[in-house]
């Protein structure tokens, strides 16, 4: 089925027409708040894509095109060769060398890197695994075939930085003090980042893919959705990506700009946070899933701007892949989520869990969507005889849940929103379904199904795309029923842009591509 099918009234737009007029200043709001660092290896945010090019270039429709790398392909099952363009230069004018690229990729061999998982199958010794094999050529050696690697370097895992600059900056790379040295369409000058204030970037006039029309692009940080909505409609801020669906009515009303709805891989879900307690019991999770009315959820939380999503892996993540039909068929075969309170109650009964002990769901404080999600979960739980308490956590405490097991004590569920910044289907399942020692860092309930593990490994190690697809679909068929993440809704990418401007990427690809490259006046 067409992912747009059930939302006939919404037109999805993934990119706005390229701009033609130069503009001096654009102010952009970053909804997620100020990043701790702009180091692509350490942080995923919407600023880095405009600063640092990735080796491959992700298109708004989630297809992959050449970027700094003219080509990047497996030459044999365990050898991956990257050939670079020769006309790309860093902001300081020095050309991009194979050494720089190798060094940049090596950053991800550190377990602290965001993209460590994507590089898990690269030969771990940096010097041997990633080598500059020619002036414009970098070779990556693998311990086993990896069907996901090429997709990954279209994301920030493939971001290119200057080696000399990076080594000089050391730990401080990407911080307000040290800054960055990349090749992207906008430059970050030293001192341009005022911590706690804003980040001022300027056009890279020498950009290899054509200089942007915006002279200065300033990022400010506005987390409060209603504040942001006012600022946007008043024209105080020119645009923002990921505006809250809750503000839909305001943003669609008359204001300085227009709300554009694009494809996204983002979804709301919740999952177990511990291996003990009722939350770890798949029957309880299934029962909760059966008690939540997805349409109502969409209506309330996403304000109608979303789709019912059957499982953790969203359709858009494989739309542009070669074997998309296989994935689509696998997805279509899954059961639609439905409401069945009787069945849910029966499941609770069956689970044998003590229903008098209250369950606790943790959500981040501040965002209305999460407050609503938690409220809806709580109300659903009540209907099937479960007692659910809400723990709204401040950002720091909520963040700590993800690495500190002691912080998860006493918490049964964590509700989050997640998205995939690059095409590929294995990211989520690996994190949630594989045993912890094999990369399942979020597998907090200790889920271990050998069959699932085996299919997922096989999908990753597949050397042809069809095998990969088949293996994944096989795994999905099984894990979808274990509700390791209960997917509540898929959402769209919401971008608000001042009517004087155009040219931004409005799909979720914005996380991995220079979305402001074609930004400018209409």
């Amino acid at each position: 089925a067409d992912p747009d099918g059930d939302t006939a009234e919404i037109t999805l737009v993934d990119v706005l027409p390229a701009a033609t007029q130069p503009v001096d200043d654009v102010t952009w709001a970053i909804v997620e708040g100020e990043p701790a660092t702009l180091n692509p290896a350490a942080s995923a945010n919407l600023i880095v894509p405009n600063l640092c090019d990735n080796l491959l270039s992700l298109q708004p429709d989630f297809s992959i095109a050449p970027g700094i790398a003219e080509s990047a392909e497996f030459v044999d099952p365990v050898t991956f060769v990257i050939t670079l363009r020769d006309d790309v230069a860093f902001w300081d004018g020095s050309p991009v060398t194979a050494e720089d690229v190798a060094w940049s990729l090596q950053q991800n061999l550190n377990p602290a890197s965001q993209w460590f998982g994507a590089f898990a199958l690269v030969v771990p010794d940096a010097a041997a695994g990633i080598v500059a094999t020619g002036p414009n050529e970098v070779t990556v050696h693998f311990v086993a075939p990896d069907s996901t690697f090429r997709d990954a370097i279209a994301g920030q895992g493939g971001a290119v930085m200057q080696k000399a600059f990076g080594e000089a900056a050391g730990q401080a790379l990407g911080t307000p003090e040290a800054g960055l040295m990349c090749t992207g369409p906008y430059e970050l000058a030293p001192g341009a980042w005022t911590p706690g204030g804003d980040i001022v970037t300027t056009a890279n006039e020498q950009y290899w893919n054509g200089a942007p029309l915006v002279k200065t692009l300033t990022y400010t940080f506005v987390s409060d959705s209603s504040t942001l909505a006012t600022a946007l409609t008043q024209g105080e801020i020119d645009g923002a990506i990921n505006v809250s669906p809750g503000a839909r009515a305001v943003l669609e009303g008359d204001g300085a700009g227009t709300l554009t709805v694009g494809h996204s891989t983002a979804s709301y879900s919740f999952g177990p946070a511990s291996a003990t307690g009722a939350g770890a019991n798949p029957k309880i999770r299934e029962a909760l899933s059966l008690a939540i009315d997805r349409d109502q959820y969409l209506e309330t939380v996403a304000n109608g701007l979303g789709t019912v999503q059957k499982t953790i892996v969203p359709e858009f993540s494989f739309q542009a892949m070669t074997e998309a039909p296989i994935y689509q068929a696998g997805y279509d075969a899954l059961a639609e989520p439905k409401v069945d309170l009787d069945a849910a109650k029966a499941l609770v009964e069956e689970s044998g869990e003590d229903t008098s002990v209250p369950l606790v769901v943790a959500v981040p404080a501040g965002a209305k969507e999460f407050a609503q999600t938690a409220t809806i979960m709580q109300s659903a739980a009540k209907q099937i005889g479960l007692d659910l308490e809400i723990d709204e956590m401040q950002a720091a405490d909520f963040g700590a849940l993800f690495y500190d097991p002691t912080k998860r004590e006493g918490i049964d569920f964590v509700a989050t929103q997640g998205y995939l910044e690059t095409p590929g289907v294995l990211g989520y399942p690996s994190l949630f379904m594989l045993p912890a020692d094999q990369g399942g860092v979020f597998n907090w309930s200790g889920y271990d199904n050998p069959e699932v593990t085996q299919h997922l490994q096989a999908a990753r190690n597949a050397v042809d795309e069809k095998t990969a697809a088949d293996e994944f679909v096989a795994a999905q068929e099984i894990f979808a029923q274990d509700y390791l993440q209960v997917t509540l809704a898929g959402t769209y990418q919401l971008t608000y842009l001042n009517d004087d401007l155009t040219g931004v990427t409005t799909s979720v690809a914005a996380y991995s591509s220079p979305w402001a490259l074609h930004l400018g006046g209409e």
């Binding site: 602290a112 911080t175 307000p176 706690g196 409060d224 501040g366 950002a395 720091a396 963040g399 700590a400």
Partner: protein, 317 residues
Amino acid sequence: MNAMTRMLLERLGGLLLTLFLASIVIYSAVLLTGDPIAALAGGAKPTPELIDQIRLEYHLDDPVWARYWDWLTSAFQGDFGRSFVYKTDVMTLVAPRFVITLQLVMVTVLLILVFGVGSGVVAAMRGGAVDRTVGVLTSLGMALPTFVVAILLIWIFAKTLGWFPVYGEGDAGWDRLWHLVLPAVSLAVLFVAYISRVTRGSLVAQLQSEHVDTARVRGIPRSRIFGVHVFRNASPQILAITGTTIAGLFAASAIAEVAFGLGGIGSLLVQAAARADLPVVQIVSLLLVTIFVVLNAAADLWSALIDPTSVGGRSAA
């Protein structure tokens, strides 16, 4: 020693002692507010080794008093610590935001003085219907929470009128002033009402005092009675309470800052606390305390100067 100097020295001593005690309280209480590891790891997923390294690097396992002592000694050398989240010097983080809060407070103070003191004076002088109207308005004003006023203003100006911006601090200069109007109004309403009452109350007390009777019976012109006897005599009390109020504005501004998206120290405090950025929470809290104590002392001193009979007379407490 001159009584004035002595009083100043005593005051200064008391002030420093209060600050010192408050710094101990705040420093140790802030340590309870959250686990800074996430902030320190800077977005990366911390491995156990990294956590250990961070704990060591930031002395997170040292006893509280040792950390306090370290902090205090380096603070005396001008080093107030580094933000856990932004990894920069706390002062470079706080300074520009402080400027914004300061500007917001100044606009608010202007409003308080003009409308609060002004309406109090008018109510006290005119009496009758004017007094009653001001009384009803101030009663209402004192029942209006700052954030309700803020929401109301945003609603009116964002939705309907659009005369004033309702978000952000704008650029320095006139644009800034323009942006600060609504936040200042929302912050001021409660205090305008309060100061109006205090002003009116102390003026009326003076108006009814016997020495004003004396002036009246001597035929002193009304304007002079009001200026020289009533207002001047009431001013120490008005000043003292206005001083306390203004001193408190720096903290109270947090709500207006959050509601109008201003990057001031109030919103910084709320944010930093949420992110467990302990050095920032500590510094901002202490800054607020210091401002409060110093402004209060200044207001006291000033009213002492106005009131020649009180020199050396007030107790330090």
